[in-house]
Amino acid sequence: MLLGAGPFIRWSYITGNWSQIQGELLQHIVLSLIAVAIGTVISIPLAVLAWRYRLVRTPVFGFASTLYIIPSLALFAILGPITGFVPPGSYTTAEFALVGYTLLILIWNTVAGLDAVPSDAREAATALGYSETAALIRVDLPLALPYIFAGLRVATATVIGLVTVTVLIGLGGLGQQFTYGFNIAYNTPIIVGLVLSVALAAVADLLLVGAERLLVPWGRSRRRALAGR
Protein backbone atom coordinates (compact mmCIF):
# COMPACT_ATOMS: atom_id res chain seq x y z
CA MET A 1 0.00 0.00 0.00
CA LEU A 2 2.70 2.43 0.93
CA LEU A 3 4.68 2.34 -2.25
CA GLY A 4 5.53 5.22 -4.50
CA ALA A 5 4.70 7.98 -2.10
CA GLY A 6 8.05 7.94 -0.39
CA PRO A 7 8.91 5.80 2.64
CA PHE A 8 6.39 5.65 5.44
CA ILE A 9 8.46 8.06 7.45
CA ARG A 10 11.68 9.84 6.59
CA TRP A 11 13.34 11.20 9.72
CA SER A 12 15.37 13.80 7.87
CA TYR A 13 12.11 15.50 6.90
CA ILE A 14 11.27 15.98 10.56
CA THR A 15 14.68 17.27 11.59
CA GLY A 16 14.88 19.50 8.53
CA ASN A 17 11.45 21.05 9.04
CA TRP A 18 11.29 21.06 12.80
CA SER A 19 10.76 24.79 13.28
CA GLN A 20 7.93 24.79 10.75
CA ILE A 21 6.29 21.79 12.46
CA GLN A 22 6.74 23.44 15.85
CA GLY A 23 5.00 26.58 14.65
CA GLU A 24 2.06 24.57 13.33
CA LEU A 25 1.81 22.62 16.56
CA LEU A 26 1.73 25.89 18.48
CA GLN A 27 -1.00 27.28 16.22
CA HIS A 28 -2.95 24.05 16.69
CA ILE A 29 -2.74 24.38 20.47
CA VAL A 30 -3.71 28.08 20.42
CA LEU A 31 -6.70 27.51 18.13
CA SER A 32 -7.92 24.59 20.25
CA LEU A 33 -7.40 26.32 23.60
CA ILE A 34 -9.25 29.47 22.57
CA ALA A 35 -12.17 27.43 21.22
CA VAL A 36 -12.59 25.26 24.31
CA ALA A 37 -12.13 28.21 26.67
CA ILE A 38 -14.70 30.42 24.92
CA GLY A 39 -17.02 27.43 24.49
CA THR A 40 -16.91 26.74 28.23
CA VAL A 41 -17.48 30.37 29.18
CA ILE A 42 -20.55 30.52 26.93
CA SER A 43 -21.90 27.04 27.67
CA ILE A 44 -22.02 26.98 31.44
CA PRO A 45 -24.29 30.03 31.91
CA LEU A 46 -26.49 28.84 29.02
CA ALA A 47 -26.69 25.38 30.56
CA VAL A 48 -27.62 26.84 33.95
CA LEU A 49 -30.40 28.88 32.30
CA ALA A 50 -31.61 25.88 30.31
CA TRP A 51 -31.58 23.77 33.45
CA ARG A 52 -33.44 26.26 35.61
CA TYR A 53 -35.96 27.59 33.12
CA ARG A 54 -37.78 25.02 31.02
CA LEU A 55 -38.79 27.72 28.54
CA VAL A 56 -35.16 28.48 27.70
CA ARG A 57 -34.23 24.85 27.29
CA THR A 58 -35.79 24.27 23.88
CA PRO A 59 -34.32 27.31 22.09
CA VAL A 60 -30.88 26.78 23.66
CA PHE A 61 -30.71 23.14 22.61
CA GLY A 62 -32.25 23.94 19.23
CA PHE A 63 -29.59 26.57 18.51
CA ALA A 64 -26.73 24.38 19.70
CA SER A 65 -27.96 21.30 17.80
CA THR A 66 -28.33 23.30 14.61
CA LEU A 67 -24.74 24.53 14.87
CA TYR A 68 -23.63 20.98 15.60
CA ILE A 69 -25.14 19.37 12.49
CA ILE A 70 -23.80 21.97 10.07
CA PRO A 71 -20.60 20.54 8.57
CA SER A 72 -17.43 22.21 9.82
CA LEU A 73 -16.23 23.15 6.38
CA ALA A 74 -19.66 24.52 5.54
CA LEU A 75 -19.72 26.51 8.75
CA PHE A 76 -16.46 28.18 7.81
CA ALA A 77 -18.01 29.10 4.47
CA ILE A 78 -21.25 30.32 6.02
CA LEU A 79 -19.51 32.36 8.71
CA GLY A 80 -16.97 33.78 6.31
CA PRO A 81 -19.18 36.52 4.92
CA ILE A 82 -20.25 37.48 8.44
CA THR A 83 -16.88 37.53 10.16
CA GLY A 84 -14.82 38.84 7.26
CA PHE A 85 -14.42 36.21 4.60
CA VAL A 86 -11.76 37.92 2.57
CA PRO A 87 -8.56 37.66 4.60
CA PRO A 88 -7.56 34.01 4.49
CA GLY A 89 -6.30 32.81 7.83
CA SER A 90 -8.90 34.67 9.87
CA TYR A 91 -8.80 33.42 13.45
CA THR A 92 -12.22 34.93 14.02
CA THR A 93 -13.90 32.80 11.35
CA ALA A 94 -12.14 29.68 12.57
CA GLU A 95 -12.98 30.29 16.21
CA PHE A 96 -16.64 31.05 15.55
CA ALA A 97 -17.02 27.66 13.92
CA LEU A 98 -14.88 25.74 16.42
CA VAL A 99 -16.69 27.27 19.40
CA GLY A 100 -20.00 26.43 17.72
CA TYR A 101 -19.10 22.76 17.81
CA THR A 102 -18.27 22.74 21.50
CA LEU A 103 -21.59 24.28 22.55
CA LEU A 104 -23.93 21.30 22.18
CA ILE A 105 -21.48 18.89 23.81
CA LEU A 106 -20.74 21.20 26.75
CA ILE A 107 -24.31 22.41 27.30
CA TRP A 108 -25.73 18.92 27.10
CA ASN A 109 -23.28 17.49 29.60
CA THR A 110 -23.61 20.41 32.02
CA VAL A 111 -27.40 20.16 32.02
CA ALA A 112 -27.17 16.38 32.48
CA GLY A 113 -24.80 16.95 35.40
CA LEU A 114 -27.08 19.52 37.04
CA ASP A 115 -30.07 17.22 36.52
CA ALA A 116 -28.16 14.46 38.26
CA VAL A 117 -27.50 16.45 41.46
CA PRO A 118 -29.21 14.43 44.22
CA SER A 119 -32.26 16.24 45.57
CA ASP A 120 -31.01 15.48 49.09
CA ALA A 121 -28.00 17.69 48.50
CA ARG A 122 -30.13 20.56 47.26
CA GLU A 123 -32.60 20.20 50.14
CA ALA A 124 -29.75 20.18 52.61
CA ALA A 125 -28.41 23.39 51.04
CA THR A 126 -31.82 25.04 51.30
CA ALA A 127 -32.15 23.89 54.91
CA LEU A 128 -28.77 25.43 55.67
CA GLY A 129 -30.08 28.74 54.38
CA TYR A 130 -28.22 28.90 51.07
CA SER A 131 -29.74 31.28 48.56
CA GLU A 132 -30.46 29.86 45.11
CA THR A 133 -27.33 31.42 43.66
CA ALA A 134 -25.15 30.27 46.53
CA ALA A 135 -26.52 26.74 46.22
CA LEU A 136 -25.83 26.82 42.49
CA ILE A 137 -22.22 27.88 42.93
CA ARG A 138 -21.38 25.86 46.03
CA VAL A 139 -23.51 22.73 45.64
CA ASP A 140 -25.02 22.17 42.19
CA LEU A 141 -22.13 23.12 39.93
CA PRO A 142 -19.44 21.32 41.96
CA LEU A 143 -21.57 18.17 42.01
CA ALA A 144 -22.06 18.46 38.24
CA LEU A 145 -18.30 18.63 37.66
CA PRO A 146 -17.80 14.99 36.62
CA TYR A 147 -20.33 15.49 33.84
CA ILE A 148 -18.86 18.85 32.86
CA PHE A 149 -15.43 17.23 32.61
CA ALA A 150 -16.83 14.40 30.50
CA GLY A 151 -18.16 17.07 28.15
CA LEU A 152 -14.87 18.98 28.16
CA ARG A 153 -12.98 15.83 27.20
CA VAL A 154 -15.23 15.11 24.24
CA ALA A 155 -15.26 18.78 23.17
CA THR A 156 -11.47 19.05 23.38
CA ALA A 157 -10.89 15.91 21.32
CA THR A 158 -13.43 17.09 18.74
CA VAL A 159 -11.87 20.55 18.46
CA ILE A 160 -8.31 19.22 18.10
CA GLY A 161 -9.52 17.11 15.18
CA LEU A 162 -11.51 19.93 13.60
CA VAL A 163 -8.66 22.43 13.74
CA THR A 164 -6.97 20.47 10.95
CA VAL A 165 -9.87 21.35 8.64
CA THR A 166 -9.19 25.06 9.07
CA VAL A 167 -6.25 24.50 6.72
CA LEU A 168 -8.81 25.11 3.98
CA ILE A 169 -9.31 28.65 5.25
CA GLY A 170 -5.61 29.29 5.57
CA LEU A 171 -4.90 28.16 9.13
CA GLY A 172 -4.98 24.49 10.07
CA GLY A 173 -2.24 24.01 12.64
CA LEU A 174 -0.88 20.54 11.92
CA GLY A 175 -3.49 20.20 9.17
CA GLN A 176 -1.00 22.08 6.98
CA GLN A 177 1.10 18.91 6.94
CA PHE A 178 -1.78 17.01 5.32
CA THR A 179 -2.30 19.38 2.41
CA TYR A 180 1.46 19.73 1.95
CA GLY A 181 1.96 15.97 1.86
CA PHE A 182 -0.98 15.55 -0.49
CA ASN A 183 0.20 18.23 -2.88
CA ILE A 184 3.65 16.71 -3.29
CA ALA A 185 2.46 13.06 -2.84
CA TYR A 186 4.74 12.46 0.13
CA ASN A 187 3.78 10.25 3.11
CA THR A 188 6.00 11.65 5.83
CA PRO A 189 4.34 15.05 6.38
CA ILE A 190 0.90 13.43 6.63
CA ILE A 191 2.14 10.83 9.11
CA VAL A 192 3.89 13.54 11.15
CA GLY A 193 0.72 15.68 11.29
CA LEU A 194 -1.43 12.67 12.12
CA VAL A 195 0.80 11.36 14.91
CA LEU A 196 1.28 14.79 16.47
CA SER A 197 -2.42 15.69 16.44
CA VAL A 198 -3.35 12.34 17.98
CA ALA A 199 -0.61 12.85 20.58
CA LEU A 200 -1.89 16.36 21.27
CA ALA A 201 -5.40 14.99 21.84
CA ALA A 202 -4.02 12.34 24.19
CA VAL A 203 -2.00 14.85 26.20
CA ALA A 204 -4.97 17.23 26.45
CA ASP A 205 -7.15 14.36 27.64
CA LEU A 206 -4.62 13.36 30.30
CA LEU A 207 -4.42 16.96 31.51
CA LEU A 208 -8.21 17.12 31.79
CA VAL A 209 -8.31 13.84 33.70
CA GLY A 210 -5.64 15.21 36.04
CA ALA A 211 -7.55 18.47 36.54
CA GLU A 212 -10.70 16.53 37.28
CA ARG A 213 -8.91 14.45 39.89
CA LEU A 214 -7.78 17.62 41.63
CA LEU A 215 -11.18 19.28 41.50
CA VAL A 216 -13.40 16.27 42.12
CA PRO A 217 -11.57 14.14 44.68
CA TRP A 218 -14.86 12.53 45.72
CA GLY A 219 -15.75 11.56 42.18
CA ARG A 220 -13.39 8.67 41.67
CA SER A 221 -15.85 5.83 42.15
CA ARG A 222 -18.57 7.70 40.29
CA ARG A 223 -16.28 8.43 37.40
CA ARG A 224 -15.85 4.75 36.85
CA ALA A 225 -19.62 4.37 36.62
CA LEU A 226 -19.79 7.24 34.12
CA ALA A 227 -17.08 5.87 31.91
CA GLY A 228 -18.89 2.58 31.67
CA ARG A 229 -21.84 4.12 29.90
Binding site: I70, A77, I78, R153, V165, F182
Partner: protein, 242 residues
Protein backbone atom coordinates in the same frame (compact mmCIF):
# COMPACT_ATOMS: atom_id res chain seq x y z
CA UNK B 1 -29.00 42.02 1.91
CA UNK B 2 -26.79 42.26 -1.13
CA UNK B 3 -25.03 39.03 -0.25
CA UNK B 4 -28.17 36.97 0.17
CA UNK B 5 -29.51 38.39 -3.07
CA UNK B 6 -26.39 37.05 -4.79
CA UNK B 7 -26.94 33.65 -3.21
CA UNK B 8 -30.54 33.71 -4.40
CA UNK B 9 -29.28 34.66 -7.82
CA UNK B 10 -26.86 31.73 -7.81
CA UNK B 11 -29.61 29.29 -6.94
CA UNK B 12 -31.89 30.62 -9.64
CA UNK B 13 -29.26 30.44 -12.39
CA UNK B 14 -30.31 27.50 -14.53
CA UNK B 15 -26.70 26.70 -15.53
CA UNK B 16 -26.03 25.74 -11.90
CA UNK B 17 -28.64 23.00 -12.10
CA UNK B 18 -27.28 21.07 -15.07
CA UNK B 19 -24.19 19.10 -16.06
CA UNK B 20 -21.56 17.23 -14.11
CA UNK B 21 -21.04 20.18 -11.74
CA UNK B 22 -24.75 20.93 -11.40
CA UNK B 23 -26.53 20.91 -8.06
CA UNK B 24 -28.46 17.64 -8.63
CA UNK B 25 -25.31 15.71 -9.63
CA UNK B 26 -23.23 17.06 -6.76
CA UNK B 27 -26.04 16.45 -4.26
CA UNK B 28 -26.50 12.90 -5.54
CA UNK B 29 -22.75 12.19 -5.45
CA UNK B 30 -22.55 13.26 -1.82
CA UNK B 31 -25.59 11.19 -0.88
CA UNK B 32 -24.19 8.18 -2.75
CA UNK B 33 -20.81 8.39 -1.02
CA UNK B 34 -22.39 8.89 2.41
CA UNK B 35 -24.79 5.98 1.95
CA UNK B 36 -21.99 3.64 0.81
CA UNK B 37 -19.90 4.65 3.82
CA UNK B 38 -22.69 4.23 6.38
CA UNK B 39 -23.78 0.87 4.99
CA UNK B 40 -20.19 -0.43 5.07
CA UNK B 41 -19.70 0.89 8.59
CA UNK B 42 -22.93 -0.74 9.78
CA UNK B 43 -21.82 -4.06 8.32
CA UNK B 44 -18.34 -3.89 9.88
CA UNK B 45 -18.84 -1.88 13.10
CA UNK B 46 -22.35 -3.11 13.80
CA UNK B 47 -21.39 -6.72 13.11
CA UNK B 48 -18.37 -6.53 15.38
CA UNK B 49 -20.39 -4.73 18.07
CA UNK B 50 -23.09 -7.42 18.04
CA UNK B 51 -20.51 -10.18 18.22
CA UNK B 52 -18.56 -8.57 21.07
CA UNK B 53 -21.71 -7.55 22.93
CA UNK B 54 -23.21 -11.01 22.64
CA UNK B 55 -20.11 -12.91 23.71
CA UNK B 56 -19.10 -10.21 26.18
CA UNK B 57 -15.41 -10.80 25.46
CA UNK B 58 -12.81 -8.24 24.49
CA UNK B 59 -15.46 -5.59 24.09
CA UNK B 60 -13.94 -2.93 26.28
CA UNK B 61 -10.63 -3.17 24.44
CA UNK B 62 -12.38 -2.82 21.08
CA UNK B 63 -14.46 0.13 22.27
CA UNK B 64 -11.43 1.92 23.69
CA UNK B 65 -9.44 1.27 20.54
CA UNK B 66 -12.33 2.57 18.44
CA UNK B 67 -12.57 5.71 20.56
CA UNK B 68 -8.85 6.33 20.40
CA UNK B 69 -9.12 6.01 16.64
CA UNK B 70 -11.61 8.88 16.61
CA UNK B 71 -8.75 11.25 17.35
CA UNK B 72 -7.28 10.60 13.89
CA UNK B 73 -8.22 13.58 11.70
CA UNK B 74 -10.25 12.58 8.66
CA UNK B 75 -8.27 14.91 6.42
CA UNK B 76 -5.12 12.95 7.33
CA UNK B 77 -6.65 9.63 6.29
CA UNK B 78 -8.12 11.12 3.13
CA UNK B 79 -4.89 12.67 1.94
CA UNK B 80 -2.77 9.68 2.99
CA UNK B 81 -4.99 7.20 1.13
CA UNK B 82 -5.29 9.45 -1.89
CA UNK B 83 -1.53 9.55 -2.47
CA UNK B 84 -1.11 5.76 -2.36
CA UNK B 85 -0.71 4.60 -5.97
CA UNK B 86 -2.86 1.53 -5.31
CA UNK B 87 -5.76 3.78 -4.35
CA UNK B 88 -4.85 7.26 -5.58
CA UNK B 89 -7.76 8.97 -7.25
CA UNK B 90 -9.48 5.80 -8.48
CA UNK B 91 -13.17 6.07 -9.34
CA UNK B 92 -12.76 9.86 -9.40
CA UNK B 93 -11.68 9.96 -5.77
CA UNK B 94 -14.55 7.79 -4.57
CA UNK B 95 -12.35 4.91 -3.39
CA UNK B 96 -10.08 6.94 -1.10
CA UNK B 97 -13.05 8.89 0.27
CA UNK B 98 -15.08 5.77 0.87
CA UNK B 99 -12.26 4.07 2.81
CA UNK B 100 -11.33 7.12 4.88
CA UNK B 101 -14.89 8.02 5.80
CA UNK B 102 -15.76 4.41 6.66
CA UNK B 103 -12.94 4.44 9.18
CA UNK B 104 -14.55 7.54 10.67
CA UNK B 105 -18.03 6.02 10.80
CA UNK B 106 -17.13 2.69 12.42
CA UNK B 107 -16.30 3.90 15.98
CA UNK B 108 -19.69 5.47 16.88
CA UNK B 109 -21.59 2.52 15.43
CA UNK B 110 -19.35 -0.10 17.05
CA UNK B 111 -19.41 1.64 20.44
CA UNK B 112 -23.15 2.19 20.52
CA UNK B 113 -23.96 -1.34 19.34
CA UNK B 114 -21.68 -2.81 21.97
CA UNK B 115 -23.07 -0.59 24.73
CA UNK B 116 -26.62 -1.37 23.57
CA UNK B 117 -25.96 -5.09 23.83
CA UNK B 118 -24.21 -4.75 27.18
CA UNK B 119 -26.93 -2.66 28.84
CA UNK B 120 -29.45 -5.48 28.41
CA UNK B 121 -30.42 -6.49 31.95
CA UNK B 122 -28.54 -9.64 32.95
CA UNK B 123 -31.72 -10.93 34.62
CA UNK B 124 -33.61 -10.65 31.35
CA UNK B 125 -30.86 -12.54 29.55
CA UNK B 126 -30.80 -15.22 32.24
CA UNK B 127 -34.58 -15.55 32.13
CA UNK B 128 -34.43 -16.07 28.37
CA UNK B 129 -31.78 -18.75 28.81
CA UNK B 130 -33.76 -20.41 31.59
CA UNK B 131 -36.74 -20.60 29.26
CA UNK B 132 -34.57 -22.70 26.98
CA UNK B 133 -33.68 -20.18 24.28
CA UNK B 134 -30.47 -20.89 22.42
CA UNK B 135 -27.72 -18.29 22.13
CA UNK B 136 -28.93 -17.25 18.69
CA UNK B 137 -32.51 -16.95 19.87
CA UNK B 138 -31.48 -14.83 22.85
CA UNK B 139 -29.65 -12.55 20.44
CA UNK B 140 -32.54 -12.26 17.99
CA UNK B 141 -35.51 -12.03 20.32
CA UNK B 142 -34.07 -10.42 23.45
CA UNK B 143 -30.76 -8.60 23.04
CA UNK B 144 -31.22 -7.16 19.56
CA UNK B 145 -34.66 -5.53 20.15
CA UNK B 146 -33.51 -4.05 23.46
CA UNK B 147 -30.36 -2.68 21.83
CA UNK B 148 -32.18 -0.97 18.96
CA UNK B 149 -32.37 2.56 20.48
CA UNK B 150 -28.62 2.54 21.11
CA UNK B 151 -27.74 1.12 17.72
CA UNK B 152 -29.90 3.69 15.97
CA UNK B 153 -28.33 6.49 17.99
CA UNK B 154 -24.94 5.30 16.78
CA UNK B 155 -26.11 5.16 13.18
CA UNK B 156 -27.58 8.67 13.44
CA UNK B 157 -24.41 10.11 14.92
CA UNK B 158 -22.27 8.40 12.29
CA UNK B 159 -24.54 9.44 9.41
CA UNK B 160 -24.53 13.12 10.33
CA UNK B 161 -20.77 13.06 10.74
CA UNK B 162 -20.34 11.32 7.41
CA UNK B 163 -22.63 13.67 5.48
CA UNK B 164 -20.81 16.61 7.01
CA UNK B 165 -17.33 15.24 6.46
CA UNK B 166 -17.89 13.98 2.93
CA UNK B 167 -17.53 17.63 1.92
CA UNK B 168 -13.81 17.05 2.54
CA UNK B 169 -13.80 14.35 -0.16
CA UNK B 170 -13.81 17.19 -2.66
CA UNK B 171 -10.27 17.93 -1.53
CA UNK B 172 -9.14 14.61 -3.02
CA UNK B 173 -11.05 15.46 -6.20
CA UNK B 174 -14.34 13.65 -5.59
CA UNK B 175 -17.10 15.83 -7.02
CA UNK B 176 -19.74 16.55 -4.42
CA UNK B 177 -21.17 19.55 -2.59
CA UNK B 178 -17.76 20.03 -1.01
CA UNK B 179 -16.53 20.96 -4.48
CA UNK B 180 -18.64 24.12 -4.29
CA UNK B 181 -17.42 24.93 -0.79
CA UNK B 182 -13.75 24.28 -1.50
CA UNK B 183 -13.63 25.97 -4.89
CA UNK B 184 -15.56 28.89 -3.38
CA UNK B 185 -13.04 29.17 -0.56
CA UNK B 186 -10.15 28.88 -3.02
CA UNK B 187 -11.38 31.59 -5.35
CA UNK B 188 -12.73 33.84 -2.59
CA UNK B 189 -16.18 33.42 -4.08
CA UNK B 190 -18.26 33.63 -0.92
CA UNK B 191 -21.52 33.16 -2.81
CA UNK B 192 -20.56 29.74 -4.21
CA UNK B 193 -19.02 28.57 -0.91
CA UNK B 194 -22.05 29.72 1.03
CA UNK B 195 -24.49 28.09 -1.41
CA UNK B 196 -22.61 24.79 -1.23
CA UNK B 197 -22.58 24.96 2.56
CA UNK B 198 -26.30 25.66 2.58
CA UNK B 199 -26.93 22.57 0.47
CA UNK B 200 -24.84 20.41 2.81
CA UNK B 201 -26.79 21.73 5.78
CA UNK B 202 -30.03 20.90 3.95
CA UNK B 203 -28.79 17.36 3.34
CA UNK B 204 -27.74 16.96 6.99
CA UNK B 205 -31.20 18.13 8.04
CA UNK B 206 -32.93 15.73 5.67
CA UNK B 207 -30.82 12.80 6.82
CA UNK B 208 -31.57 13.62 10.47
CA UNK B 209 -35.27 13.71 9.68
CA UNK B 210 -35.31 10.43 7.74
CA UNK B 211 -33.26 8.64 10.40
CA UNK B 212 -35.48 9.94 13.21
CA UNK B 213 -38.50 8.52 11.43
CA UNK B 214 -36.68 5.26 10.76
CA UNK B 215 -35.63 5.07 14.42
CA UNK B 216 -39.24 5.42 15.46
CA UNK B 217 -40.35 2.69 13.10
CA UNK B 218 -37.72 0.13 14.13
CA UNK B 219 -37.85 0.83 17.87
CA UNK B 220 -40.05 -1.66 19.74
CA UNK B 221 -43.15 0.15 21.07
CA UNK B 222 -42.38 -0.15 24.81
CA UNK B 223 -38.97 1.41 24.29
CA UNK B 224 -40.20 4.43 22.32
CA UNK B 225 -40.72 6.86 25.15
CA UNK B 226 -37.27 6.26 26.51
CA UNK B 227 -35.74 6.51 23.08
CA UNK B 228 -37.29 9.90 22.46
CA UNK B 229 -36.06 11.23 25.75
CA UNK B 230 -32.48 10.25 25.06
CA UNK B 231 -32.55 11.38 21.43
CA UNK B 232 -30.68 14.60 21.98
CA UNK B 233 -28.19 13.03 24.35
CA UNK B 234 -27.43 10.33 21.87
CA UNK B 235 -25.89 12.81 19.47
CA UNK B 236 -23.22 13.78 21.95
CA UNK B 237 -22.93 10.78 24.19
CA UNK B 238 -22.40 8.60 21.14
CA UNK B 239 -18.83 9.38 22.10
CA UNK B 240 -18.69 8.04 25.63
CA UNK B 241 -15.92 9.57 27.67
CA UNK B 242 -13.94 6.45 28.33
Amino acid sequence: MGFLAHVFGWFTTSANWTGSQGIPTLFWNQLKLSAAVVVTAIALGGGLGVFLGHTGRGGLIAVNAANAFRAVPTLALLTLLAIQPAISLKWDGFLASWLALTALAIPPILTNTYVGMQQVDADVRDAAKAMGLTGGQVLRTVEAPLAVPFVMAGIRTASIEVVATSTLAAYVSYSDLGTLVISGLDTNDAVVAFSGALLVAVMAGLVTLVLSLLTRIVTPVPLRRRARRSLLGAATTGVPAT
